[in-house]
């Protein structure tokens, strides 16, 4: 008992020393890599706690899909105030749970290539899916169709277990609609293999198992900035590139609604957004005053941004995955 109270005392003293904590704790559920040492979490936590007079706690809960499953499992009794890290393929399902509250009023307009009208979720970063390759690759294709006709080998992710995998399926669906099956049939012989997640695919690509891998247009920036390695490029496709927009939302059951709203507002400021490009390797949803870091100007900027509205994406998802499965199972 004595030890317990001593530990408690020490902990309280420690917390008291760093945060005044007068307004209590704000719990934010997010995906693991956001909270890791090298992710945006530590930077954001420090910056928000400097202004909020509170204690910000990030709880990592697997990946984006796992995050939503977790919130659904916990239901209205969740400890979380804010959920950060869902993407536009998940927001329709998230909205349907009825667990999320409307976003705070008076947020600035996000800098996205598309109009943002979602009443519940606020974007914090975004990116374009793209096929990444070695910069010295000859005859880089300029469209999904050209890729299908080429002899290039590609590695993609499974849409049933991975966000980029689902992104590609929605990409083909958004760009080709009824023709999607034919596009997939042409791509089938290019696919070396399908991996359960992004890491396996990207790892196999770096080991030289394929010419191209499905990733993001911002992937080459990681190699350039963090590793000083300019050898990776992303291929620009004429059909346009499907987008991933990552969002955050407030839970209705939050016991800290004011702090939660302040956090969403803070999310749109430089203290949060400045950390995004070189920690999450995505585009910030609200461009910081200093602009993007050096190196980002080397990235391709697709002319057409593709993104199905959340409810349409949800409605088309099952059929689009089935088209993919049927074509690649031949």
């Amino acid at each position: 008992m004595k030890t317990v109270s001593l530990t408690l005392l020490a902990t309280t003293a420690l917390i008291g020393a760093t945060h005044a904590q007068s307004r209590g704790e704000l719990v934010v559920y997010t995906y693991d890599s956001f909270t890791s040492d090298w992710g945006p979490g530590p930077v954001v936590e420090e910056a928000f706690e400097a202004v909020c007079d509170c204690d910000l706690t990030f709880v990592g809960a697997g990946d984006g899909a796992a995050l939503l499953s977790r919130v659904q499992l916990e239901g209205a009794r969740s400890d979380a105030d804010v959920v950060l890290g869902l993407d536009t393929n998940l927001t329709a399902r998230a909205t349907a749970t009825g667990l999320f509250a409307d976003k705070p009023a008076g947020l600035p307009t996000p800098d996205l290539p598309i109009a943002w009208t979602d009443p519940i979720f606020t974007p914090f970063d975004w990116g374009y899916f793209a096929f990444v390759h070695e910069a010295d690759l000859a005859d880089v294709p300029t469209s999904l169709k050209a890729l299908g006709e080429s002899d290039l080998s590609i590695i993609v992710q499974d849409p049933r277990s991975s966000t980029p995998g689902l992104g590609l399926v929605m990409w083909v669906d958004a760009a080709y609609g009824d023709e999607a099956a034919a596009v997939w049939a042409a791509l089938a012989d290019n696919v070396v293999t399908v991996t359960p997640g992004w890491s396996e695919a990207y790892g196999l690509f770096l080991e030289g198992e394929a010419d191209m891998v499905l990733s993001y247009t911002t992937s080459p920036a990681y190699h350039l900035i963090a590793e000083d390695d300019p050898s990776k490029s992303a291929a620009a496709f004429d059909e346009g590139h499907y987008m991933q927009v990552e969002v955050a939302g407030i839970l209705k059951g939050s016991d800290q609604p004011d702090l939660a709203a302040e956090f969403i507002q803070f999310m749109a400021t430089d203290g949060f957004q400045g950390a995004i490009p070189t920690t999450n390797w995505m585009y910030p949803a609200f461009t910081p005053a200093g602009g993007l870091p050096d190196g980002f100007e080397t990235l391709i900027t697709p002319e057409t941004a593709l993104l199905l509205p959340a409810d349409e994406a949800e409605a088309r998802r099952a059929a689009a995955i089935e088209t993919w499965r049927a074509a690649l199972s031949q």
């Binding site: 090298w38 979490g41 049933r160 293999t193 399908v194 991996t195 890491s199 990681y222 190699h223």
Partner: protein, 515 residues
């Protein structure tokens, strides 16, 4: 006195079985119970089921087929480094899946060593993706495990039998038919069953090396239902189908195998008088060494440069993983011993089958079930590490049981009546009769469980936070953030630590006090 002690042990054993079955099968129940609509199994699921069963069956058959000559060669040859080789045989089984896949591809991949060699000769690169790749990887993982199980069988053939065979002038063929085949008939079904069950739940390996959605297994469908569709009842139904297949296979194969009589002689070479086939044996051992060793070498070589620059959080995670592994091993040993005790009296195929199908329990299902059950009472995230240790322990029970059961049965048959007539107390009997009698298999089993627990991503992926990340989770997160080199370093560290744990237990079991 002795009788009461025995009935207490039987009670403990039954309790252990209940714990294991409750955590593996029982955790499916809460998923069904909070689900809104009953889960549906659709037409495409049967194709998935077919692929799942076919690949698991072929993997089991191939692993056993290659393990027989390898175990035979190892059983009848004594050579320098044999003990070290036996130890190394444990390694492939304990490498985390993604590490092993990268190792296998470093050798067999399109830009692997073999393809490079072929390229230098002007030949096209290898393309193993598809069923070939899946089977290659599964044999890589399981060949060593089966070999070690078969070696136990060979060690159980009594020296007198070999002497008799020599006197009768048996050639290698007669030897196989009259001495070795009966032993193989006893041991092979059980060994094959374990491989079948392990491969039944293959997910990342099958998909990554399988080349596309044709290589979808039930485990992927379960993952999809839980993670992406949040269809709990469908996940539960799929998990039940998977376990149903597993149970059918278990009953079939356990019924086929006859109870084996094992002597305490794992790793010992009986004096043999049949000296033919030396070159064959050398060839088999050499080929196995290359097949199993090269990918491991690739893993260590890739990770070695990053080993020196690993961050503090990796070392903390490593410490956490070792602690969990040791705790899981202790719990697992207690559970398995108690279960082996009750099952060793007779033939309880159904009970053993129920325990063995724990091999096919999905940690995602267990984790979700536990979450639903525990959340009203405690915060499962605060208990992430103890929960991981318990679940890893329970998932290790099937392995440990498979190895311990025959040994416990032998000791009981051999010494049980003597102990009863002497009226030994339970503690004395355990310390002085049972434990020394099963030391070798126990060392091997515990080594396997410790290493497996070390490398398992398991439920920590559900309940872990950055403050409780284990080494496999830390490695997965590094990979997910482009840090492939650091991840390779973490992978090499994981391999080295797992192997050390395995080696300590395994060698500890074989260490002879008398000498």
């Amino acid at each position: 006195m002795a009788r009461r002690a025995l009935s207490i042990s039987t009670g403990l054993g039954a309790a252990a079985i209940v714990i294991v079955v409750a955590l593996t099968l029982g955790t499916i129940v809460p998923l069904l119970w909070i689900a809104e609509a009953p889960g549906r199994i659709v037409g495409a699921d049967w194709a998935v089921l077919r692929f799942t069963v076919v690949q698991a069956f072929l993997s089991a058959v191939l692993s056993v087929l290659f393990a027989v000559p390898l175990a035979r060669a190892l059983a009848r040859r004594q050579f320098w480094g044999r003990q070290a080789l036996l130890l190394l045989l444990g390694a492939p089984f304990i490498v985390p899946v993604i590490v092993a896949v990268l190792g296998i591809l470093a050798v067999w991949g399109r830009s692997g060593w073999l393809s490079d060699g072929l390229g230098a000769l002007g030949l096209p690169a290898l393309d193993i993706y598809g069923m070939t790749g899946v089977l290659l990887a599964h044999v890589f993982f399981n060949l060593p495990l089966v070999t070690r199980m078969l070696l136990t069988g060979w060690a159980a053939i009594r020296a007198e039998q070999f002497r008799l065979a020599a006197q009768l002038g048996f050639g290698p063929r007669d030897m196989l038919r009259h001495v070795e085949a009966p032993m193989l008939r006893e041991v092979l079904p059980g060994a094959g069953l374990v491989v079948f069950l392990i491969c039944l739940t293959s997910f990342a390996v099958a998909l990554t090396l399988g080349g596309g959605p044709r290589a979808t297994t039930l485990e992927l469908a379960i993952y999809q239902s839980l993670r992406f569709d949040f269809d709990l009842s469908r996940a539960a139904m799929l998990a039940l189908v998977q376990m149903g297949v597993a149970l059918a296979a278990a009953i079939l194969l356990l019924g086929l195998g006859r109870p084996a009589e094992f002597a305490d002689a794992l790793g010992r070479v009986a004096e043999r008088y049949d000296t033919g086939g030396l070159w064959q044996d050398r060839l088999v051992i050499g080929a196995a060494l290359l097949f199993l060793g090269l990918p491991m070498l690739a893993v260590v070589a890739r990770g070695a440069p990053a080993l020196l620059t690993l961050s503090a959080s990796i070392w903390e995670a490593a410490l956490r993983s070792v602690t969990i592994a040791l705790a899981a091993t202790a719990i697992c040993f207690a559970l398995s011993l108690a279960i082996a005790w009750v099952l060793s009296t007779g033939r309880a195929v159904l009970a053993e089958g129920m325990v063995l199908i724990g091999l096919t329990a999905s940690s995602l299902v267990i984790g979700t079930g536990l979450f639903i059950l525990l959340r009203p009472i405690v915060d499962p995230f605060a208990l992430a590490l103890p929960l991981t240790a318990v679940v890893n322990a329970v998932m290790g029970v099937p392995f440990a049981l498979r190895v311990l059961l025959p040994a416990v049965a032998t000791v009981r048959r051999g010494q049980g009546q003597l102990a009863a007539s002497l009226g030994l107390s339970r503690g004395v009997w355990l310390r002085h009769v049972l434990l020394p009698g099963i030391r070798r298999p126990a060392g091997f089993a515990l080594g396997l469980v410790a290493a497996f627990s070390m490398g398992d991503l398991g439920i920590i992926a559900l309940f872990g936070t950055s403050a409780t990340a284990t080494l496999p989770l830390e490695m997965a997160q590094l990979m997910g953030a482009y840090r492939m080199e650091a991840a390779a370093g973490a992978g090499a560290l994981l391999l080295i630590l797992s192997f050390m744990l395995f080696a300590v237990f395994d060698a500890g079991g074989r260490y002879d006090h008398a000498r």
